[in-house]
């Protein structure tokens, strides 16, 4: 692994200057000798099977999410954010490596006992940030290898200082709950997990409040089986209970950041790994988990970063989960390893300025790892695929719900043929 140009001293010195540089709107900080760079804390909350239409601020008629709605009011809400894949493992691989899952050989969902997993050669966001002096934790669902089958697939081998959570989905068996390398329950009380993850997250932040930290918080809910200590509270049944409980605990986390005085220097991101499964809403979008239709791959994405992201903005240009790694690194002035292809792009400058990122297409892989290319913007000339097109904005600024388009490809091909 290559080390970056930053020294630990640089990182600590620059903490105070982070806010100023961020306000200047420069995504990249010059890393010359002792010049301060931005070192925000990052909290990435990643839900399991939470759909595009499952939050209040994304139009859910029944699920109440006041905390997340508040985050959207104070930060940015993306309307066209695409998960790494319509299913768990590949989506998580895309988030942590910045690559399309098949590129890192994680195109399929992993099961207990599988020997495939995240390779040592791959660099996760955690590894980059850890090398730059960050404290790192993965609290929640891993699903990038079974440490019992292959110890090298443990999160602690991939840049995380701390792991508390499950090695894969909560509907799998056996189901060991890890505390670092130790299994402390098998199976755990699933209804308690959202709270327990949050307690561990709070604990981690408290322990590392005086240094930069990266908290990756992949909640197990609302993946089936649904389980929550908020049972029977939501008008949206058990799925609603799970989402509302997560909303509550995101609030606990945000309060903790405030209490520790690090809220202003923390970028908090909330998103989901793919669309809804047996229950849950994809809003007006067609399709659900395991499908490359919009409902399976478009997910909520909210980012609150005081003094950095503009407040109350709805960002409509398409972005993708692979963009997280290059964007977070760009924000910290860390260079990407030059020895590999990173599929994601830095969306920071564009999103701050409200512009579209440069590239016009983004790709989502199917469960079998074959790319289903989505042409995301309305500017794309005439061709539409069954993977859908982005919703259009009416003159009054409201987003028209995207409809499942009809397949124009046959027509286009025939028309081209007819006119030649």
């Amino acid at each position: 692994m290559t080390t970056t140009a930053l020294s630990r001293r640089d990182v600590l010195k620059s903490a105070g200057a982070a806010g100023l540089l961020a306000m200047a709107g420069t995504g990249q900080a010059a890393a010359v000798g002792d010049t301060p760079t931005t070192t925000p804390n990052f909290v990435v909350i990643f839900c399991d099977d939470l759909g595009y239409g499952d939050l209040g601020c994304y139009g859910s008629p029944l699920v109440r999410t006041p905390v997340l709605d508040g985050m959207a009011d104070r930060g940015m809400r993306f309307t066209d954010f695409y998960a790494g894949s319509p299913v768990c493992t590949p989506s998580r691989a895309a988030l942590l490596t910045g690559c399309y899952a098949p590129r890192v050989n994680l195109g399929r969902v992993l099961f207990p006992g599988d020997t495939n997993g995240l390779a040592a050669h791959e660099r996760t966001i955690a590894e980059y940030l850890k090398d730059a002096g960050y404290a790192t934790a993965c609290i929640g669902k891993w699903h990038l290898g079974d440490p019992r089958a292959v110890p090298e697939h443990h999160p602690l081998e991939h840049g995380f200082d701390r792991f508390f959570g499950l090695p894969y989905s909560n509907d799998m068996d056996p189901l060991p709950l890890y505390d670092d390398r130790e299994v402390i329950a098998e199976p755990p009380d699933q209804a308690a997990l959202t709270r327990q993850y949050t307690e561990q997250a709070v604990s981690f932040i408290r322990d590392h409040a005086d240094q930069p930290f990266f908290l990756y918080l992949p909640y197990t809910q609302p993946h089936e089986p649904l389980a929550s200590e908020f049972a029977h509270r939501s008008a949206a049944g058990s799925h609603g209970d799970s989402v509302e409980e997560i909303d509550h605990y995101v609030g606990v986390l945000l309060d903790e950041l405030t209490n520790l005085g690090v809220r202003d220097n923390t970028c908090v991101i909330f998103t989901s790994d793919n669309g809804p499964w047996y229950v849950g809403s994809s809003g007006d979008l067609y399709g659900r988990k395991a499908e490359t239709y919009e409902g399976g791959v478009r997910v909520p994405f909210i980012v609150e970063w005081p003094n950095s992201t503009p407040a109350g903005v709805t960002y409509r240009a398409p972005a993708h989960l692979t963009d997280l790694l290059p964007t977070l690194l760009s924000a910290t002035g860390i260079d990407l390893s030059p020895d590999r292809v990173i599929d994601g792009r830095d969306v920071l400058p564009a999103s701050r300025a409200g512009n579209r990122p440069n590239e016009a297409t983004s790709s989502t892989t199917t469960t079998a790892g074959r790319p289903a290319t989505a042409t995301p913007s309305a500017e794309a000339t005439g061709s539409c695929t069954s993977a859908g097109s982005a919703g259009r904005t009416s003159p009054d600024g409201t987003s028209r719900p995207p409809r499942r388009p009809h397949n124009c490809s046959t027509f286009s091909a025939i028309r081209r043929k007819a006119t030649t």
């Binding site: 949206a236 049944g237 229950v279 849950g280 124009c408 025939i414």
Partner: protein, 418 residues
């Protein structure tokens, strides 16, 4: 023969896999359906009409017989090599109307069997011109009666030929009836092949819609519906004519479901809700009906309108007061079969799912699902945990029907083996 003075002519037009959301009157904006829309403004439009089953063959059996296709061990869709079909003891509405004095004709796709005793002419239709299968079978033979007249019929021209045959049937019948409109009423079924996949459009409709080839096919279907309706209005019978337009089930690969969940062959609303327009040629009240109903109701309803006796033991309910423009009767639960599996039911505001697909153990894992269609029309949030009493009540009702149908299907199966 009892007096047929008041018995109306009845024309039933059935599309194949048409998306309810593709019709302008149901909120469609991309595909042009002026003739369907006109029908909608001039008569009854049902907003909660359900297919008789999730797939072609049992859906059509249900429509024509008024009993669940699942009772007859029918496959999802009769294919060229199946021996199964509608048995002779399944009494179709055509046979019932014919017994009452109607002359009956089926034009288009039959899809209820190809062997002896399974032909439309064996099931109460005086006239048949059409195909035994749909666009997914090639080559496709066009029959006149039981005679094959074309062995490689191009389904692109099916809508035209079906409509032409039906219009000829109506015209011949009018001439035979005489100027004073004496003679027998007619019952004509136009069973379209469109827009079932693969989509086949006539060259002049090719590339004309904004919704790809599927859109072209739907616009073509609408065009021929317009010709039919004009013909019926101009035909000046002594008796009035009821035109019904619907689809056998919801859309499959393409087509809009009004943003509801699922598509054919699922029993989520997107797969089983169908358009239903019923208009009289001599005008009538424009009514929008929201009571959940089933196409199983066609048989008893048309019998009632015709003054024919309705047999007992039907699964459909009589909705003729609605069709007659009088009032909208209530209806009991709507049961939604996928093949032989009773997977879901709709009762008032509730939609209960007990299994998915072929009811594998895995498919029952997160069941039952109870959806409140008023608060959650997209069937997104399972509120079974909040209404366990509703779940028990509906589940018991569903189990009774499932057992009854399964028992009959088993008895038939045994009889066939014996």
């Amino acid at each position: 023969m009892r007096g047929l003075g008041a018995s109306p002519n009845i024309v039933l037009v059935v599309a194949d896999d048409l998306g309810i959301g593709d019709i302008g009157a149901y909120g469609g904006r991309l595909i042009r359906t002026p003739n369907m829309d006109l029908l909608a403004t001039q008569g009854v439009r049902c907003e909660s009409m359900y297919a008789a089953a999730a797939t072609d063959t049992p859906a059509r059996a249900g429509m024509l017989v008024g009993r669940f296709g699942a009772r007859y061990n029918l496959p999802a869709s009769v294919s060229a090599d199946s021996a199964v079909g509608l048995p002779l003891d399944a009494v179709t509405v055509a046979r019932l109307l014919r017994q009452t004095g109607y002359v009956t004709g089926l034009f288009g796709q039959w899809r209820l069997g190809a062997r002896a005793g399974q032909h439309p002419l064996d099931h109460g239709f005086d006239r048949f011109a059409g195909t035994l299968y749909g666009t997914d079978v090639a080559p496709l033979t066009w029959y006149e009666g039981k005679v094959a007249v074309e062995t490689e019929f191009d389904p692109a021209f099916a809508a035209r030929r079906i409509t032409q045959n039906a219009m000829d049937f109506v015209s011949e019948h009018r001439e035979a009836a005489g100027a004073r409109g004496e003679g027998r009423p007619f019952f004509a079924v136009l069973s379209h092949l469109a827009p079932h996949a693969p989509f086949r459009a006539e060259p002049r409709f090719f590339g004309t819609s904004r919704a790809g080839l599927y859109g072209d096919v739907v616009e073509q279907l609408d065009h021929y519906l317009g010709l039919l309706v004009r013909h019926l209005r101009e035909a000046r019978h002594g008796r009035r004519t009821l035109i019904i337009f619907t689809s056998d089930n919801g859309p499959r690969y393409e087509g809009r479901t009004q943003a509801r969940r699922g598509r054919k062959p699922e029993v989520f609303d997107g797969g089983v809700r169908v358009p239903f327009l019923a208009t009289w040629t001599n005008g009538g009240r424009n009514m929008v009906d929201r009571v959940p109903r089933s196409l199983l109701d066609l048989t008893p309803s048309l019998c009632a309108l015709a003054g024919a006796g309705t047999p007992t033991g039907l699964d459909g309910a009589d909705m003729s007061p609605l069709l007659a423009g009088h009032y909208a009767p209530e209806r009991g639960p709507v049961f939604l079969f996928y093949n032989e599996y009773l997977n879901a039911m709709r009762s008032g505001r509730w939609k209960l799912h007990v299994a998915y697909g072929s009811q594998s153990a895995y498919s029952r894992v997160y069941m039952p699902q109870l959806f409140d269609t008023e608060a959650d029309f997209r069937e997104n949030y399972n509120v079974a945990n909040l209404h366990p009493d509703v779940v028990s009540r509906l589940q018991a009702r569903l189990d009774r029907t499932a057992a009854d149908v399964a028992a009959e299907a088993a008895a038939r199966s045994e009889k066939e083996m014996a």
